[in-house]
Symmetry: C2
Subunit: 600 residues, 2 copies
């Protein structure tokens, strides 16, 4: 099993090429962006878009899955002088669920000694930010978030409703540093994952999305998961969570991390549970702690930790329609119940912080008691846990650890904003990271859509990262097609949110695509789409000929009924006559019908 | 071409059977509903859902496409004593775009003389409502909208934000009459379409959806369109618009109407344009008027009429990013420009009302100047036209005509509510009927999703009917799969809106499905879904065996990690101990960490 190097999808998207923008403070920085070239008749420069796809879409890059990606941050990390390599924890049979022989996923071929903070220092981006240091990561992010908008849209009018967010016209390195220092944004960047291209999660930056991958006890393999990771970032995933729960968790994760240019998140309790044979009550702090170190050494960038599931909250879930639906939450709840005590996550939270600060693993404080149905939305259990997450945020911040807060789940539209408001209030403006929320329960098979609605709204209200939901949610493990559908749906939600928040650069792509549409530049319309292949395919299903790519109509209406073609005629006529004169003349036509209120 | 009787999809949905509820005031009324049977272990009654699918899903019904549906409203219409049959307008070659021989779609085999009001009377549901008459249509709708909720949810708590709507706990015949009389709801019900099962469109009723079908000059045929109509209502379309623009418009429409249990809408200018060879400036009032009568005689239930496109608004569109994107709007604009005068729609609007009141054709006042891009949303042209639509509404109401108002289009999230508020204010609370709106332009191929987000929101804010957008929007003519995807997406949006508005019966289905999910009743979970076939298929892709339909896990997490299974364990343990005691005991555990604000 898995003896072959995984195959992943490579090569640029249509009409797209990768550019790298250099840093100023840190000249060795090369920030990747994607430029989408337009047809010469457009007379427009290429459209620059955010690019999370890594070297896989760069034909100049020489990617080799069995070697891993270039370790671009390694020099930056070492230059700070606060870390040292050491002998890694020994990999144990239980780390891979006791898989052996053919059933054991092979180890990743290359090994690097892990780094760790020296002298008890915090090596987190938060610690540096508080110390007034603009790290290379921060400058990288500055350039990345601006997307060349200093050149492109000097005179763009700000238009939007941001509900108290503070999105700047232009991002500066100092702004990034300050947002991180305030805890309002995080940069997930484990020192042992130097392959990452730095990115930021915060309400005053572009809305991000996460894609979940991972095998389960029932199905999937390492090659599939590496392929899914590369596939997810190709379509725009900003981070990827590896939620593997079966055997081979350690080795699969290593392959994923070494080849991932985006931050990788995990839920360490899943692997810990595998190590104790799947029996929740046999979990111990020692097993869990060892798992945290194991994963921190590998380079996991953020941990979901359900430390907010407190013993006395569990009874609040018993009368729910759907109980506890978070896997991690239910495991912890079961443990608490069995031992009749607070969880080791809660009791040892300060020690967990000490581990995280030594590697710069960010917290994603898990919502173990999130609602799993419309019936349970915004209930006492959910909001009680959120209060505790607020307390834990303060503890983590005191330890210089970066924190984001996970949110629901299943919430009808009229209860979404209360989640955002309460999270901002309770958790000191730490970034919010929500799963959907699904706005109805009645459409299994379409939960990317039921949740895309909620995701767009909560993103608008201020959620910093949206965790995707695929069409398979509630039904099965997503395959490659589901991953793509989930990612595209969430890119839509995130972008719709950026537009509504009034992000100064967001509308550039909409406008470029709309102009292409109006000018019948079909190729440009496809290429500017989030999914050029599908757009082209849909068009070609009825009009496959190359000639139709320059036709001034499509199969929806046919040539005689094309409103856009007619609009061009109108515009031509208007230009002949002069607009001002035309308007004046028309207005003289007068009203043929009196307004109703003047007719009596 | 088209010599064969169309094949349509028939038979019930899984675990569903059709029931008919009788009227009280009008005992011959039989209101169709779908009951979804649950597994015996549920110990729950069947879930009753709104059913727009007509006799096609009733195995007892004997449907014959070449005979048409039963004319269930005919006796009600004739009993009112205000209509008389007459010799129909003669069908002319241009009605079918001069198609001949093999290219001519055959006539529908049966003919009925059309009815028309006698003595200049208004035979509209609005006229009856104003006269204090509860028609059989109104009682039918009363029963239909209640969905048995008087029995099922006597004690359901109202929960939602309806933005000033007045949704009653229970719908009464008098409530329906009153809403229609006030113009806040319409019952599209042409006296020449007695096959319809009456339905209502209004902010204080369930949110409805429309599906567009229709051939174009480029592709498609009668058999396809009849099949699409039946397919669209199978998945939940409440009305269907026939937007055909090629040849054979008259004959295709006849086949559709005779077999449609839902109201059919059209845009008569499309056919009028065909009659003048596609040259907009050659349109005349006489050709248009003749087309209205032709379609009213066939039984079209509502006309989209772009009478709000006034001459002096056209210059307002010239600097837009995407000009005029409404097909009808652009045709009228071109005509106005050429003749330099107000359109015949505007000039003859009172005469159009006289036609509509004689057949009870409802108005769908078209938004010919709706924005076609984010850049053009909420602009001067759009809102100027809306003011005119408000004036026309008053004129139509004076003629006892039923009116709804069409809305956009492409609107970013933060500008959606202004559309709803302005429409309510300007158009006297006439029902709003919007296309989407799309919340971003950057995802051609996924515009069911970009628009489903906007549709859910504007539905929540008060839009009464949502016109679907399919994945093919902007790219090509939708096929059968696209129609289904569009309908399901919009059923999600409409239902999410009903939930958020606090419709008293909306959550029943969510709760039933959530209970099925929590209790591992997989079959019930599939059957309660908007699309049982897809839900089942997605589950079976990884776990195809029958045994897995009773398994207490799925392939997402596998058996060891199933949070719901663990929740059951927790519940069992809690029940042993007694909840109150458990909660008390846990609370005594006390706080291990002080809240942050008490730590200083």
């Amino acid at each position: 099993m898995n003896a072959v190097t995984p195959k992943v999808t490579q090569g640029p998207l249509p009409a797209s090429y990768k550019v790298y923008k250099p840093g100023r403070m840190h000249p060795d920085i090369r920030v990747p962006m994607r430029e989408i070239a337009l047809h010469p008749t457009a007379g427009e420069p290429p459209v620059t878009v955010y690019d999370s796809s890594g070297p896989y879409t760069d034909p100049q890059a020489d990617t080799d899955i069995s070697a891993g990606l270039p370790r671009l941050r390694e020099a930056w990390i070492r230059a700070r002088g606060d870390v040292a390599p050491y002998e890694a924890r020994h990999v144990k049979p239980e780390d891979n669920g006791f898989a052996t022989g053919d059933r054991l996923t092979p180890e990743f071929p290359r090994h690097n000694k892990p780094l760790r903070a020296t002298g008890g220092k915090a090596v987190t981006q938060l610690a540096y930010a508080r110390a007034g240091i603009v790290t290379p990561e921060m400058e990288f992010i500055t350039i990345r978030e601006n997307l060349g908008r200093m050149e492109l849209c000097k005179d763009i009018a700000r238009d939007g409703e941001s509900f108290g967010a503070a999105i700047p016209d232009f991002v500066t390195p100092e702004f990034v540093r300050d947002e991180v220092a305030k805890g309002r944004a995080i940069i997930p960047a484990n020192i042992n994952h130097p392959e990452t291209e730095p990115m930021i999660i915060g309400r005053n930056f572009l809305v991000k999305i996460n894609a979940n991958i991972g095998n389960s006890a029932v199905t999937s393999s390492m090659a599939n998961e590496v392929d899914k990771m590369v596939w997810a970032i190709r379509w725009g995933a900003d981070t990827v969570m590896d939620l593997s729960t079966g055997r081979n968790i350690h080795n699969i994760r290593e392959w994923i991390i070494r080849n991932s240019p985006v931050p990788i998140g995990t839920v360490p309790i899943y692997q810990a549970l595998e190590k104790v044979g799947g029996i929740a009550e046999e979990l111990t702090w020692e097993v869990y702690r060892d798992t945290l170190i194991e994963q921190a050494e590998q380079g996991v960038d953020y941990f979901t930790i359900h430390a907010g599931v407190r013993l006395h909250y569990i009874p609040l879930t018993v009368d729910r329609t759907t109980g506890i639906v978070s896997r991690g939450g239910s495991i912890i709840a079961k443990w608490c119940l069995h031992h009749h005590r607070e969880s080791f996550l809660y009791e040892h939270f300060a020690e967990i912080c000490d581990i995280c600060r030594a590697y710069d693993v960010s917290f994603s404080l898990g919502d173990g008691l999130r609602p799993g149905s419309i019936a349970d939305a915004n209930d006492a259990a959910q909001f009680a846990e959120l209060e505790t997450l607020g307390e834990l945020t303060q503890i983590a911040w005191e330890k210089d650890c970066q924190v984001m807060i996970e949110g629901p789940g299943h919430v009808p539209m009229h209860k979404i904003k209360a989640n955002m408001d309460k999270q901002l209030d309770t958790c000191g403006e730490a970034p919010f990271y929500t799963l959907g929320p699904l706005t109805t329960d009645i459409a299994p098979g379409y939960d990317h859509i039921t949740s895309g609605i909620g995701a767009a709204m909560i993103g608008w209200f201020g959620t910093a990262m949206l965790c995707y939901v695929t069409p398979k949610e509630h039904l099965g493990l997503p395959d490659r097609d589901d991953v793509k559908t989930g990612v595209i749906t969430y890119k839509i939600a995130a972008h719709a949110a950026d537009l509504a928040k009034g992000h100064p650069a967001a509308q550039i792509r909409d406008d470029a695509l709309s102009r292409a549409r109006f000018e019948f530049r079909w190729e440009d319309q496809f290429n500017l789409s989030l999914d050029p292949e599908t757009a082209r395919d849909f068009h070609d299903q009825t009009l496959p000929k190359e000639a139709h790519k320059v036709a001034h109509f499509c199969s929806m209406c046919g040539p005689k009924f094309c409103s856009m073609r007619i609009s061009h005629d109108i515009r031509a006529e208007a230009q002949k006559e002069g607009m001002a004169a035309m308007a004046e003349k028309y207005r003289d036509g007068g009203d043929l019908y009196m307004p109703a209120d003047q007719q009596d």
